[in-house]
Amino acid sequence: MVSILDIIGPVMVGPSSSHTAGACRLGLIARDLVAGTPESALIELHGSFARTGEGHGTDKAIVGGLLGFRPDDERLRDALTIMEKEGLDFRFEKTTLGDEPDVHPNSVRITVKRQHREHVMLGASLGAGRIKVSQIDGYPVEVDGSHHTIAMVAEDVKGSIARITGILSDDGVNIATLRLTRKHRGGDAFIVIEVDEQPADRVRDDLRALSWVRWTHRIDKVGG
């Protein structure tokens, strides 16, 4: 549903809501995957991101997001200098991630490493600052950053949703939306839960501790 606050906003560093604000949000989500500033990152730009990204500050915006700067943070302008000063190993490549319409023209694949963790995500900037992350670690997800989100892959066992929602409600976290998909009965279930409050670390840890949960990420709200 369109909100007048989406129309009169966001407050952002220019020049482009898709190539700058959206790009920054994608960087913020990649940062969340390793729960902090990555030590190294490979940023593969596709389509319009690859062609006009430099002029729009897309490179600065993604790096700024990886550094934890939000779309309205004026440090985005100097993100590349800050990255070099901090000695971070972030590299850019121009690539083709697939054909339209399967791959959005403003797409990026970001691989991030921090300590012992390495994760990869595929995301796109859809316009007006809106984004969609469509893949994390090869798993299909749909994360738009408008809510705090928990993305999970779990074995298809009975009562799994009840356990998951139980853990959330025990911590006072209210569910806004919940999407569950699976390819076939007994196959992996992909679960994306959007919640109103930021879940505590222990919620993520409790979910990860469930024996039938293969994989869990907590992704903070980055816009909306």
């Binding site: 549903m1 909100s3 220019g14 006009t52």
Partner: protein
């Protein structure tokens, strides 16, 4: 939110209230925020708009590519034309200022988009300065503008990549015209006519930025779209009506956008971007950006 201006105008006039009032009520109902909370967020947007105007008027900004910058200051201090000392020149100056800030990676409010961000602050703040409108009145005007923009987003598009510049600076002109008309005391119907009068004047406008960058002609399109908004406001306040309702003008914008060749939708494949000079400048400047 409303899907047509017709319904919003009907509801507002039936109750004798403004479009801003019905917009804030529906926003509150749809998104579970109080009207005070919504006004507070809009107030923060207003403060950023004001700051971006002031920042742009200092004149010491250059864009990444160096293609634009410093022109807002020329309108502030440069030689007089026929509009010197008028609200018209003030508005043009502010529109350039905000877009120069945007192109230089400064902070702006994308309303409705970054590429069209100059029009609304220019028109509202330019008029408010002349007539001493309060922040409360400006915040109400932003709510009205948000309502108009939401209707355009629903019925057509607010993206240059989808609908050309008519969907960015054109939509911004409609939003600014309707909002300012109401702020000046026009009825909801008059605000609707102002939207129609503004957007009929931008139908078919293509998105053809040099090198695909939000710089040239975007900065100047914000000034000319603001001029169209002022023309629409002046006509609507005088009681002029436009025979095609605003919703149908917006639908027409959407239809033209869908038919528009991809070269004219932000790809730099046609229009000014594809002129010999446009191609040469884009090539030179992109090389320069890579060196920085």
């Amino acid at each position: 939110m409303y899907h047509s201006l017709h319904e919003a105008i009907r509801d507002a006039e039936a109750r004798g209230v403004t479009l801003a009032t019905v917009a804030l009520e529906i926003e509150s109902r749809d998104h579970g925020r109080t009207i005070d909370e919504i006004r507070e967020v809009l107030g923060r947007a207003l403060a950023v708009m004001r700051h971006s105007v002031e920042h742009g008027l200092t004149g010491d900004l250059r864009s990444n590519s160096g293609l634009v910058g410093g022109d807002a200051a020329k309108l502030r201090t440069g030689p007089a034309g026929p509009l010197a000392g008028t609200v018209f020149r003030d508005v043009l100056m502010r529109a350039l200022a905000v877009q120069e800030v945007n192109a230089a990676m400064g902070v702006i409010v994308a309303a409705p988009t970054a590429g069209g961000a100059g029009v609304l602050p220019a028109v509202l703040l330019g008029i408010a300065k002349q007539q001493n409108f309060t922040d409360d009145q400006l915040i109400s005007a932003l709510a009205t503008a948000g309502l108009i923009g939401a209707v355009v987003a629903h019925r057509a598009s607010l993206s240059g990549a989808e609908g050309g510049c008519q969907a960015e600076t054109g939509a911004a002109a409609g939003m600014a015209a309707g909002a300012a008309t109401e702020m000046l005391g026009g009825t909801p119907s008059q605000a609707g006519h102002a939207v129609a009068l503004a957007q009929q004047g931008t139908l078919g406008l293509v998105c053809d930025p040099l090198g695909g960058l939000v710089e040239l002609p975007c900065v100047f399109r914000n000034a000319t779209a603001s001029a169209i908004a002022l023309a629409a406001i002046e006509m609507a306040m005088a009681g002029i009506t436009f025979a095609i309702p605003a919703d149908e003008v917006i639908d027409t914008m959407g239809e033209i956008g869908r038919e528009m060749d991809v070269r004219y939708r932000e790809t730099a494949g046609g229009g000014l971007a594809a002129t010999p000079t446009g191609r040469r400048l884009a090539k030179e400047r992109l090389v320069q950006i890579k060196r920085v």
